[in-house]
Amino acid sequence: MPMKRVTFCLGILLAFVASIYAQDSSTATDNGSIASASNASQTKTQTQDHEAAAASGNQNDQQSSGQETHVRLGGFVVSAGYAHFSPGICPYGYPYFPYYSPFSAALWWDPFWGFPVGYPAGYFSPGDGKGEVKLNDAPKNASVYLNGGFAGTVEHLKSFWLDPGVYDLVLSAPDGREYQQRVYVLTGKTLKIEAKLAKPSIDTERM
């Protein structure tokens, strides 16, 4: 009997994960790219991920003037645990109460701890009111500068979060190739930047 329950529970879990995956795949085509306003000759260099817009699909195109409803996955909790009960402590108590989970420690791991140099810990980590910046096609050893300050390398900042604002982003590879982009970060929005580094010319020094 317990095995049947476990199987049933895992089945629900797998079905849900599959539906989320399918949803992501179908909305992936909504991603666009943002061209630099100051450099029209550049190809589309940023793409913005309309996460919320994707949820409502093409309805946005037809109902732009009205109120929109954004459905999103707020989070997903998977837990496993062990409990021991005895008559002295909890004779008729709820046997499933304990929230001890051997995996809970993993939830506290923060991949951004310690990075990057020059910025306080957690500066680039996810948080309420932040927007995400994803760097694609950039060499891992390229340095990342934000508003002139060294933020780290692409290896550690492949994806990072910033407070809403306007930033001058510069990527600089050890071989001298550079990429400059002015980025506009909005709350909850993901910017995908196709960073194609090139040798800087005098004309493109200033964006």
């Binding site: 529970c9 919320a52 909005l186 709350t187």
Partner: protein, 228 residues
């Protein structure tokens, strides 16, 4: 005295260098744009941004409030041109009234207002599995007995509330205003070609026709604009 002048020169240079970009880079000539017209030596090039292009070009969701046109102006040779948003108008075909472009500040505020009216639905599914063992009293006989077993749990939480997504906060509005300003057609006197975006506060209907009007030296340049 020289020190003061040089300090001011450095400050001026730094402030110029730190200032954001303005507009876009104009193409080599007006006829490089899909829509173009010429009069009195002044050439106008224009391109209507489709909804997809607007999404690619702007982080701000301009599709929620506006028709966006990229405009390029080419002054007459050896002449200058005073660029003003007030000289532009967008008129629905055969309509008596026309719409003037909005400033970046107004557009940003409009987007913020519409974003604030959105509804946010968040779904939080959860599942768990565990094993437990121990001693419990039998509720019928009252005698303690050893018991163990696997337990599972599954649930889902749904939260409905106002949106706190892109464009709602005042900080976001400020960012949008900066973006729209920096990408907008810059106003003022110019002797060289200038280009940038202008924003008409019109929600276009599909397959509708408009005409873009630009008044230069008392004459009106008219360019037909078709919205797909």
């Amino acid at each position: 005295m020289n020190k003061i002048i040089s300090t001011f020169a450095v400050l001026l240079f730094v402030s110029t260098a730190l200032a954001g970009p303005k507009g876009t880079v104009p193409r080599s000539s007006a006829d490089q744009y899909p829509l173009h017209a010429q009069d009195s030596g002044v050439s106008l090039g224009a391109k209507l941004l489709s909804r997809a292009e607007a999404r690619k070009t702007f982080v701000s969701d301009v599709n929620r409030c506006c028709i966006v046109l990229e405009i390029a102006l080419y002054p007459a040779q050896a002449g200058s041109l005073n660029v003003s948003l007030n000289d532009f108008a967008l008129r629905s075909r055969n309509a008596a009234s026309a719409t003037k472009p909005s400033s970046a500040k107004i557009v940003a505020a409009s987007i913020q207002q519409k974003a604030a009216g959105d509804r946010d639905v968040a779904v939080y599914p959860s599942t768990g599995v565990g094993y437990e063992s121990g001693t419990a009293y039998d509720p019928v006989t009252g005698t303690p007995r050893r018991a163990s077993g696997v337990y599972t749990q599954a649930g889902v939480g749904v939260a409905v509330g106002g949106s706190n997504g892109p464009g709602v906060s005042d900080k976001d509005r400020s960012v949008m205003e900066t973006e729209l300003t920096e990408k907008a057609l810059s106003e003022g006197a110019t002797a060289a070609a200038v280009a940038g975006y202008i924003y008409f506060p019109v929600m276009p209907k599909k397959k509708s026709d408009y005409q873009l009007e630009y008044v230069v030296e008392g004459k009106k340049l008219i360019v037909p604009v078709h919205v797909e």
